[in-house]
């Protein structure tokens, strides 16, 4: 490891622009002649549109156009789709209701876009939007997923009878039922995973520019995957053919999943630009973000875990209802199925598992992948159940887990996944040592003397990352392949450009990807530029989600570097009149091993481009491409321990210690990895303690601002104790597993296990706010 190579704590190259105010986000973009869009959104959760009158709005100052869904339809713009096909257990395909980018007959959630106004200024667009007169006939709404399945519930889409999108199962029902029947002990729980709003700090935004002379569209958008946005907008929404559509995702201020999807607004900005003849920009305000960004989680489950007389798990039966909101977002269907039920084995050797999942429509914002996506739901269910089982069985939670750990690899679970490597006991031991688990009893006694309730809880999580082998996900219903591409261009003077299909929106790719190149060729990271986020510059790529940029994106870079290295060695061997096999790359030069003969890196690069003296038959230039398709998912895992102190008089929970011990495989930049874990833990603690998404019975979102939805603040959190003990991933050339989601996956059950331990109760709803905790304490006392 050099000072800039793999494993080094290199400060980030991209920071300079962000700390000086020179970042370039979509809202910072200005195009000559650019105008502003505002949306008229449904104030009702469920209603029939009777009439839309835009005459008054059209006459308002500065208004350029007022456009409706009927015009959108007339121009052939397509409906939004879900790109992952799930079949119910009866073999029928999922029931996808139509989602028009602008609603024209019916609205199905508060925030559903109905009309767009384009005006000279943002203020004028908003003024005119308020003057649009829409008459609605209100319909009965349903927001709660189990209630949406009741006979009396309103029908939301004609395509989905009884609001049931699919009724899907995974695993062996017969074997699982037999295990439960034969069990020495069964732990049963109802598990609710609360709905969350992702809340990337940069609100979503889009700028559409139609160039009439070229008949060409450009879209600047807050996207985690600009190529996918181009593909979907072209192939499914008929905005423009791919070769006539450029999508640019510049600096993007956080995503956490919510910026994977293609939303109505970017489609409409492009379409409205052509309609009105001006570039059209839209930027969400925070309340629009709360109302219309895809939400996360929202599962209601029951679980039965069977144990034999030696406390070994013999079976796991899960029944889940997943709320997908009013429309099926782009990847919504895979989250409560293949990203959830496939992880229900956790870190444990469980011979029989069966999961049944019903996905339902409700009159709420669409629900899709949010940091962790299905895996936090699986982990929460499993780790809450393990903790409860340990208490019921009267054994140590740590030892119950340890007894059931998978210890031999590869391990085939009963729910598709084949775990390739791991050492779960190592993470458990590391976490317990860091947390001084043995000293807890004394700390609890000390806290009691101060009138505080102290509790400790742990969580052993596993996740599947590096999404994923294309053939495998294709067989499970994915509409796309999940490979990644890279292109490495060595310039004539030896500097290097890496073009990647991965997208950085906080992950630090401009630094870590350059570290990979430094490791290979000894070229300083300042001489390596990472190019991403522009479909005109970068060949087709699949983008960033599911902690895949390291395991898949960087593996693609590594493959391209292999090809560059091979050609560079051939050129050097030719120049040095040596055997290609004797060439080594060291300290920025290509050397004949064991001699002092060498050619500097830049000289080799120049030779590739002057082409005056290349090996016979070799093409000039030094630029290579790769498309890397992984052979398996990767399986990061770890153990988190949370310690809390509760003030029984106020119900306020203080996280007094939080320990994370993770196994991420090989690590490129430990500083960046730790940062990812910190952020993930904060989101997980947010889910457990603070973040509650509340709709009232009529479908109004009551928590649609930072006045009402509690984001984790600095004083809600402690500093975290994080460490890693890594087993390299055998499935990709770099041995990387991925670290982006672990924190959000592992932490909620650790927090709730600690709170229930402190109070001495079985369960408490998330978020465990002070009032909820206060009531729970009173509940146990009375």
């Amino acid at each position: 490891m050099g000072i800039e190579g793999v494993g080094a704590r290199v400060a980030r190259k991209e920071d300079k622009r962000f700390i000086t105010g020179a970042g370039r986000y979509v809202d910072d973009m200005v195009v000559p002649g650019m105008k502003h869009a505002a949306f008229v959104r449904s104030p009702h959760a469920h209603a029939q549109i009777r009439n839309i009158d835009v005459t008054k709005a059209q006459a308002m100052p500065g208004v350029i156009g007022v456009l409706t869904g009927k015009e959108l339809k007339a121009d052939g713009i397509g409906n939004l789709i879900c790109g992952w096909m799930i079949h119910s257990k009866d073999g029928s395909p999922m029931k996808m209701g139509a989602w028009s980018p602008l609603a024209f007959d019916r609205v199905r959630y508060v925030g559903d876009a109905v009309v767009v106004v384009v005006a000279e200024t943002k203020g004028q667009a908003r003024d005119a939007a308020e003057a649009v007169d829409i008459s609605y006939e209100e319909l009965k709404a349903v927001v709660d997923a189990p209630k949406a399945l009741e006979r009396s519930a309103p029908q939301i889409h004609t395509e989905a009878d009884g609001n049931l999108i699919f009724d899907w199962e995974l695993g062996d029902s017969t074997a699982t039922n037999a295990a439960i029947k034969a069990a020495a002990h069964i732990t049963r729980m109802k598990i609710v995973n609360n709905r969350l709003v992702p809340n990337a700090m940069e609100p979503r935004a889009a700028l559409g520019h139609y160039d009439k002379a070229e008949d060409h569209y450009t879209c600047w958008t807050t996207s985690q995957n600009p190529h996918l946005a181009r593909l979907v907008m072209s192939a499914f929404y008929n905005v423009a053919p791919e070769n006539k559509l450029r999508v640019i995702a510049p600096d993007v201020g956080g995503g956490f999943g919510s910026k994977i999807y293609i939303y109505p607004e970017e489609i409409i900005c492009l379409w409205a630009s052509k309609k009105t003849g001006v570039p059209v920009k839209w930027v969400a305000d925070r309340t629009e973000s709360f109302l219309t960004d895809a939400h996360g989680r929202d599962h209601v489950s029951t679980v039965e875990m069977a144990f034999d007389k030696d406390n070994r798990i013999t079976g796991l039966k899960v029944d889940t209802i997943a709320n997908l909101g009013a429309y099926m977002s782009l990847f919504s269907s895979c989250v409560p199925t293949y990203l959830y039920a496939t992880l229900l084995s956790g870190q444990y050797d469980i011979p029989a598992i069966h999961a049944n999942v019903r996905a339902v429509y409700t009159n709420t914002a669409p629900v899709d992948a949010y940091r962790g996506a299905g895996r936090p739901e699986a982990t929460y269910l499993l780790e809450r159940t393990m903790e409860t089982a340990a208490r019921e069985l009267g054994v140590s939670p740590a030892e119950l887990r340890r007894k059931n750990f998978i210890t031999a690899f590869p391990h085939q679970t009963p729910v598709i996944m084949n775990y390739d490597a791991g050492d779960y006991a190592a993470s458990l031991d590391a976490a317990m040592t860091a947390a001084d688990y043995a000293g807890f009893a004394q700390r609890k006694a000390d806290a009691a003397n101060r009138g505080k309730l102290r509790g400790i809880g742990m969580s052993c999580y596993i996740e599947a990352c590096g999404l994923a082998p294309s053939a495998a996900v294709g067989s499970l219903g994915a509409g796309v392949g999940l490979w990644e591409s890279a292109e490495v261009r060595v310039n004539a003077a030896g500097t290097i450009e890496v073009l990647t299909g991965s997208h950085s929106h906080g992950q630090g790719h401009e630094t870590t990807f350059a570290q990979l190149v430094n490791q290979r060729f000894g070229v300083s990271i300042d001489s390596v530029s990472i190019v991403h986020g522009d479909t005109d510059k970068v060949q087709m790529g699949m983008g960033t989600y599911g902690s895949r940029s390291g395991a898949v994106g960087m593996s693609a870079v590594a493959k391209a570097l292999d090809k560059v290295e091979a050609k560079a060695k051939k050129i050097a061997a030719h120049l040095l009149e040596a055997d290609e096999g004797d060439i080594v790359i060291e300290n920025g030069a290509l050397k004949v091993a064991g001699t002092d003969r060498q050619v500097p890196w830049f000289q080799m690069a120049l030779a590739a481009y002057t082409a005056h003296n290349l090996p016979s038959g070799m093409e000039p230039g030094l630029k290579e491409t790769s498309f890397y398709d992984p052979s398996n998912f990767t399986f990061p895992a770890g153990c988190y321990v949370c310690e809390v102190e509760i003030d029984p008089d106020t119900g306020v929970t203080e996280i007094v210690q939080f320990v994370a011990a993770d196994d991420f495989g090989n690590i490129i930049n430990p500083m960046i990895v730790e940062g990812q874990v910190h952020g993930g833990i904060a989101q997980g603690i947010g889910q457990a303690l603070l973040e509650g998404t509340r709709y009232d019975a009529s479908g109004q979102l009551l928590t649609a601002s930072y006045m009402d939805y509690t984001m984790p603040r600095a004083d809600d959190l402690p500093s975290f104790k994080v460490s890693t003990s890594n087993t390299p991933c055998p499935g990709n050339p770099l041995g990387i597993k991925g670290c982006g989601e672990a924190g959000a996956i592992g932490s909620p059950p650790a927090v709730i296990n600690a709170i229930t331990d402190a109070i001495g109760i079985t369960d408490i709803a998330m978020p465990a706010s002070p009032s909820t905790v206060w009531a729970a304490i009173r509940g146990t006392k009375h």
Binding site: T20, G21, A200, G675, Y706, M707
Partner: protein, 164 residues
């Protein structure tokens, strides 16, 4: 419409804006200073923090006309030429940012915080003082670390200056 004239990052600037224009929009749209960000509608997130007459202010809570005659410093004006402000340097060194969106407001709030605490800062104070700045990426861990480090650097520099 009102005529507004003020000093921004040491330069006299003026322009016309609707009376309802917020200071943050005037900075971003009229002056092109896009380093100051808008992350919410309710003055909670702090992405728009700037300094007005030496005090940290959420520029979404102030009308542009109210700032007329004031002296404003934004994130673009914090560095001394090519030399980063110690707070900017500390955020980079300690990985106090990820997506960068909340960062300008964090840095402006943090420099103000140090100014208001000549006695020095500890972790609990920094966390309490950051109540008005939301970050979704970092979990605040490295932001707190960066502010404490910058506080050390700035106070030791101050001591050197005093001694000299």
């Amino acid at each position: 419409m009102s005529e507004i004239s003020l000093t921004v990052n040491g330069k006299r600037v003026s322009g016309a804006a609707e009376d309802r224009t917020l200071l943050v929009h005037f900075l971003r749209e009229n002056l092109g200073l896009t380093g100051t960000h808008v992350g919410c509608d309710t003055s909670q997130c702090g992405a728009c923090v700037i300094h007005v007459d030496g005090k940290a202010v959420k520029s979404c809570t102030m009308l542009a006309v109210q700032a007329s005659g004031s002296s404003v410093v934004t994130i673009e004006g914090l560095a001394d030429g090519a030399d980063l402000h110690p707070m900017q340097a500390a955020f980079k060194e300690h990985h106090g940012l990820q997506c960068g969106f909340c960062t300008p407001g964090m840095i402006m709030a943090a420099t103000d915080m140090i100014g208001r605490h000549p006695e020095g800062l500890d972790e609990a104070t920094v966390r309490a003082e950051l109540e008005g700045n939301i970050c979704r990426c970092t979990g605040y861990h490295n932001i707190v670390k960066a502010i404490l480090a910058a506080s050390e650097t700035m106070s030791s520099k101050g001591k050197v200056r005093q001694a000299a």
